[in-house]
Point group: C2
Chain length 132, copies 2
DNA sequence: ATTCTAGTTTATAATGATTCTAAAAAAGTG
DNA sequence: CACTTTTTTAGAATCATTATAAACTAGAAT
């Protein structure tokens, strides 16, 4: 299995549950955005094995901490995650409540002119809200 | 009272509670960012009158709908609001969990090159995360 | 293989921000 | 005042997320 090494290298034991979640998250052509509930549904459909909700939460947070997922800053009643961990931005369709990737080339360079003493920039993210 | 007209013009009855919340929110030199709980505390300190939490929620949402407040897209367990309703951006200090305004002039023009059929851009917001 | 230990999974409970409910109070109108 | 509509309120309900603590498992040691 190709994810065993990845997990071991991160100090995470390659358990059956984690490997199955890896498959659901990373064995695909395109990256995607998801909430925990959407992921739970996807797991149910794709895997012949029940994974408890607590484990889904634990795993997503562990993967986020290791940099395999990122959280998208958005106001929603549920937290959105992204399997695309490159620097990029988002459209947020207010009606459909769906996220769409905006690559850096779709936005152009963003230069932050203001500086805050003793702090450094960790990330710069653009959220473009869409309406009809 | 200077907020009576403002409320009437929005189709909101100028109740004692709403006027008091207006004072707390808008009778100041600088705009600010807040969560509902922070606002509740501020109200307690500033006003000699209890306002129920439900009313604080109702009022904040009513003001948001009327464009007197805006919600800041950020991942936190509590929703952040802003009394600065002009187009602007934010630093988010991850350690202090505090927001700092970034004026448009601090960021420069942002040109979104990608278009989505049938959708138009409602807002473009930049979130710059800060670490030590 | 057997034992040991730290790490993991799990069902379930707890938490807490937000929303809902429905009755009482207040605002606006004539 | 009498009447209607809106608003406030305490408390309950909701629901995403986190905590708990017991059972299980992976990896390592014996
Ligand atoms: Mn989280
Ligand atoms: Mn809201
Ligand atoms: Zn994305
Ligand atoms: Zn602001």
């Amino acid at each position: 299995m190709k994810y065993i090494e990845k997990l071991r290298n991160s100090g995470l034991r390659p358990t059956k549950q984690r490997l199955q979640i890896c498959e659901v998250l990373f064995d695909r052509d395109k990256t995607f955005h998801f909430t925990i509930n959407e992921l739970e549904q996807k797991i149910k459909k794709q895997i012949n094995n029940k994974i408890s909700l607590a484990t889904v939460y634990n795993t997503v947070h562990a993967f986020e901490k290791k940099g395999y997922l990122k959280q998208i800053p958005i106001n929603s009643n549920q937290t959105y995650f992204d399997t695309n961990v490159t620097d990029h931005h988002h459209f947020y369709d207010l009606k459909d409540e769906k996220l769409i990737d905006l690559e850096n080339s779709d936005v152009g360079p963003i230069n932050i002119l203001k500086k805050i003493d003793g702090k450094k920039i960790k990330s710069v993210e653009v959220l473009v809200k869409l309406e009809d």
